[in-house]
């Protein structure tokens, strides 16, 4: 069956649009923030700060802003960019999405979707932060010895 050229063009455009949507759905997933990392007792704030920055450096993230208890970092991979904020206190380190480009970030029906690689990048980063904190030296606090009974 020979279709008129206009119909053929429309059919081709439709097929391409469907293929594109399917591919987009495949590489896009719900944005999942990684679980906070708990800080063991005796690890100083300076050690936590060093561990976060060493983990960022190891995974090619760049620190773009910082203040006490907070580090903002950016990762650029080819045409994709993701920016996150890492907050920490004496108990835990947490990571939050801030911005992205070329990552298909969108919100639909109250859910946020992004290029699935993003979840992998942030999860790996937090795993490294946890491992790096774990090998930092800790201050030893003597357990309180109860007073001897009379």
């Amino acid at each position: 069956v020979k279709l008129p050229s206009r119909w053929s063009a429309l059919l081709a455009a439709g097929t391409l649009a469907l293929t594109g949507t399917a591919a987009n759905a495949q590489w896009s997933g719900e944005l999942v923030e990684p679980l906070p990392v708990e800080i063991p007792a005796g690890v100083s704030a300076a050690s936590v700060d060093t561990s976060i920055k060493a983990a960022l450096y190891a995974r090619d993230w760049k620190v773009v802003a910082e203040r006490p208890g907070y580090v903002e970092a950016e990762l650029v991979v080819r045409s994709h960019m993701a920016r996150v904020g890492i907050s920490y206190d004496a108990r835990s380190v947490s990571l939050k999405y801030l911005a992205s480009a070329g990552m298909g970030h969108r919100t639909a029906k109250g859910r946020t979707y992004i290029y699935t690689k993003y979840n992998g990048w942030t999860s790996t980063l937090m795993t490294d932060i946890a491992k790096f904190i774990d090998i930092e030296p800790r201050s030893v606090t003597e357990p309180k010895v109860p007073a001897a009974g009379r």
Binding site: Y57, R59, K131, I135
Partner: protein
């Protein structure tokens, strides 16, 4: 006749397997030592080494001053153990042991699966990266000090 053809097939497969294993083996040459930057705090060396190895999936087996012994294992049963030896100037990697990595020592020449060579090279590359990080931090601290 059927038995003969089975023997021939088994022989061909064995030859192919031996050839592929031989093809994937390389001479075990340790990677180049990594120099410790002069400006780096020497007390930070073992921690920087450990950061590099744990981010590559290695685990520390034991450590003593001047040496961190670590191991890596895959879920297919391949494993390797190495020593990362350090002094004031450099870090060197020394092969200790392996499993299912086709390690051979013939006439004093050691060969091993090329996968080990890649693991060792990547590990030393990450040690270098952690030293670069420490060096940059030292410089930044020095720049802040009046």
């Amino acid at each position: 006749m059927r038995l003969l053809s089975q023997i021939v097939v088994a022989g061909v497969l064995a030859c192919a397997w031996t050839a592929s294993e031989a093809g994937s083996r390389m001479e075990l040459v340790p990677p180049e030592p990594v120099a410790i930057p002069a400006s780096m705090d020497k007390a930070a060396v073992p921690t920087a080494i450990k950061r590099a190895l744990i981010s590559r999936g290695w685990s520390v087996v034991q450590e003593k001053p001047g040496q961190v012994q670590c191991t890596i294992a895959t879920n297919k049963g391949h494993s390797a153990t190495v020593n990362l030896n350090y002094d004031a100037e450099k870090v060197t990697l020394q092969y200790v042991d392996s499993a299912h990595l086709a390690y051979r020592e013939i006439d004093g020449k050691q060969t091993i699966h090329k996968r080990y060579i890649a693991w060792a090279r990547n590990l030393m590359s990450d040690v270098q990266k952690q030293f670069n990080f420490e060096e940059e931090r030292s410089r930044a601290r020095a720049a802040k000090t009046p």
